[in-house]
């Protein structure tokens, strides 16, 4: 087990740097998720830590040892790929034990460890099967067993659940998290799915265009997004944004007027800002209540326990989520309000949060 330290990481293809001077510290035992839109450099970062991609400049150390120029097999890392990357001509047992056999681990020891991981992942009945005779979920379990059996210092997951259907994804996500809770191995998990990141991570590293946009616990990222980009990327349904300005202690955007809790925001009177309102932090209120936003229902999405209402406010859509949606129909007037502690204000020019 080990902490990971990346300092001044640069990766360029030709003259064009995709990652430019990235610094990151991952403490021992932590489950970190690299999250971001495709092309943000999260997979490249992971592959550089694995040693599958060369680092143009900078240093990577695992457990205090500089591994920047070490062969992938010598870094003490194990990786699970999106495509599973199983050896198609080998049986499940051979797939799992390939690494141990390369490392010269004695036969009885290999058998013991194989039995252990196979039991843990429920692979015992299929040890003699070939990968192509198995479902995607089973194949990904084999890939996880292949990583676990090596008892690595670090687990790396490169979008391991993206090729699975929604139900299976949820199940394996839980299994991966449980596995981490019992093994406590430092883990980096790459995904573009913000919900997956929120549910599984100790800490999220949100990346954008080769740089870290924000890092923090899922709660910090969700409730205190540092930039408009983070606020927009995290949360489903996604945040409503309105251009507005600060007027007499309130944030005003058209007919929307939300009083500012004193001391919460570092804003000046008359400042041009962008308001962010999370649909899940809004609720229906009686018309005329403090901070009420009034609009006309243009669409109702039934999500079972809750409904997402899309209302037309000042000629643009604004959505919010409520349990109390069944009485509404399209065209009805509706009033709703944001719970006052959950307003987000971003500087219009820089996109940075104005939280004090």
């Amino acid at each position: 087990m080990a902490h990971i330290e990346c300092s001044g990481i640069v990766k360029s293809y030709g003259a064009h740097p995709v990652i430019d001077g990235l610094n990151l510290m991952i403490p021992d035992h932590e489950f970190v998720v690299f999250l971001g839109p495709s092309g943000c450099g999260k997979s490249t970062m992971l592959r550089m830590i694995a040693g599958l991609e060369e680092v143009t400049a900078g240093r990577i150390s695992i457990g205090g040892a500089d591994v920047t120029n070490r062969h992938p097999g010598q870094r003490g890392v194990a990786m699970v790929f999106q495509s599973y990357a199983l050896y198609p001509h080998m049986t499940v047992a051979d797939n799992i034990t390939f690494g141990l056999r390369r490392a010269g681990v004695p036969g009885p020891e290999i058998d013991r460890r194989l039995g252990e991981v196979a039991r843990m992942l429920g692979l015992e009945p299929m040890l003699n099967r070939k990968p192509k005779a198995m479902s995607g979920g089973q194949q990904q379990r084999v890939a996880m067993a292949r990583a676990m059996i090596k008892t690595p210092k670090v687990f790396l997951f490169d979008e391991p659940l993206s090729n699975l259907d929604a139900k299976l994804r949820e199940k394996l996500r839980t299994e991966i998290r449980k596995m981490h809770n019992s093994l406590k191995t430092t883990t980096i998990f790459v995904t573009h799915d913000q919900l997956e990141a929120m549910t599984i991570a100790d800490r999220i590293v949100l990346m954008r265009a080769g740089a870290i946009e924000q890092q923090g616990t899922p709660d910090e990222i969700f409730d205190r997004p540092a930039t408009r980009f983070v606020a927009d990327f995290i949360g489903s349904p996604s945040m409503n944004f309105r251009l507005g300005r600060i007027e007499r202690g309130a944030a005003v955007a058209g007919s929307v007027r939300i009083p500012l809790p004193p001391g919460r925001f570092a804003v000046a009177e008359g400042q041009e800002v962008e308001l962010g309102l999370r649909p899940t932090r809004m609720e229906r209120v009686s018309p005329g209540a403090e901070g009420a936003i009034t609009g006309r229902v243009s669409l109702i999405e039934n999500m079972g326990a809750e409904g997402q209402i899309i209302a037309e406010v000042d000629g643009a859509d604004m959505s919010f989520v409520t349990r109390d949606f069944r009485g509404l129909s399209i065209g009805d007037p509706v009033s709703f309000a944001l719970s006052p502690d959950h307003l987000h204000i971003f500087d219009r020019a820089t996109g940075r949060s104005c939280l004090a």
Binding site: G73, Y87, R102, R146
Partner: protein, 290 residues
């Protein structure tokens, strides 16, 4: 029904040509093999299976059978070994696309040469007095080597030419196959601490088992048709050291006594042996490649 008719219609031209060319000549050969015709005389009579029975007592025939078998083994195995080793070497050492393409182009050149041209080039290279190879061997102090006149070297020396042509060609095919392989299992093997040669021995080449078996079969069929190469380089000699079945059939049917019936019997036997052998190999290979 329309699909079946479509299949029949599209197959018909090829089958007609094959029927005219192959069936007629094969039937002719069977017919000839039952007579005692010779080129020198118009007289002949029906002799039944006499020619076949005589073949079974012909030591030179069994020698030719043995040479054919050795020729098949050396050329097929040699081609594949050379192709695999060279392809892995190129794949691992030449990373720039431009150099790779140039190398592939150069490797394609030998197989584009007509067999006879290749044979003459190598006969010259092998020449004891004028050849480049003997000059090199001479500089190394090993004296002139009779590559084509030494009975124990001749067959291998000719096989080298065949492997030079086909091994390099198959190298190009394998380089391209290695390029199109999925990267992930290779990267997984790197993380499993496999060395480069282990990655190829345990991961990439087993993944290419199907194509490798197909290449081996193609080469095996191709090796049966090496008459022109051997004929130009050694003519089957020295003695009968490089005389394969097709060479012996030619020698006895056209060149020497002109015993066309005897040669026809030999060809028919060769046809039967190869058909049976390839059917068995084909069946087995389908099982292996699974």
């Amino acid at each position: 029904m329309t699909r079946q008719r479509f299949i029949l219609l599209t197959l018909a031209p090829a089958l007609t040509v094959l029927g005219l060319l192959a069936a007629v000549s094969t039937a002719g050969a069977v017919w000839f093999s039952l007579m005692n015709r010779v080129l020198g005389s118009p007289d002949y009579e029906f002799v039944g299976l006499y020619n076949y029975l005589r073949l079974l007592r012909d030591k030179r025939f069994f020698n030719a059978l043995e040479i054919s078998l050795i020729w098949e083994l050396i050329t097929v195995a040699g081609t594949l070994v050379v192709a695999v080793l060279l392809a892995v070497l190129v794949h691992e050492t030449v990373k720039r696309a431009l150099w790779r393409n140039l190398i592939c182009f150069a490797f394609l050149a030998p197989v584009l040469l007509p067999r006879v041209a290749a044979a003459f080039i190598w006969r010259f290279l092998y020449s004891p007095s004028l050849g480049l190879l003997n000059w090199i061997v001479g500089e190394a102090g090993l004296g002139p080597v009779e590559f084509l006149a030494n009975p124990s070297l001749a067959l291998v020396s000719v096989a080298v030419v065949d492997i030079w042509q086909w091994g390099l060609f198959f190298t190009v095919i394998l380089v391209k196959l290695l390029e199109t392989m999925p990267r992930d299992p290779i990267e997984a093997a790197m993380l499993d601490n496999a060395r480069t040669w282990q990655i190829h021995a345990y991961v990439t080449l087993p993944m290419l088992k199907g194509p490798l078996i197909s290449l081996a079969l193609v080469k095996a069929v191709e090796s049966l048709r090496s008459f022109d190469l051997i004929f130009v380089m050694t003519g089957g000699g020295p003695g009968t050291a490089t005389e394969t079945l097709d060479l012996y059939a030619y020698q006895s049917g056209i060149n020497l006594g002109g015993r066309v019936s005897y040669a026809s019997a030999m060809s028919i036997l060769l046809l039967i042996v190869t058909t049976v052998a390839f059917t068995l190999i084909w069946r087995a290979s389908r099982k292996w490649s699974r």
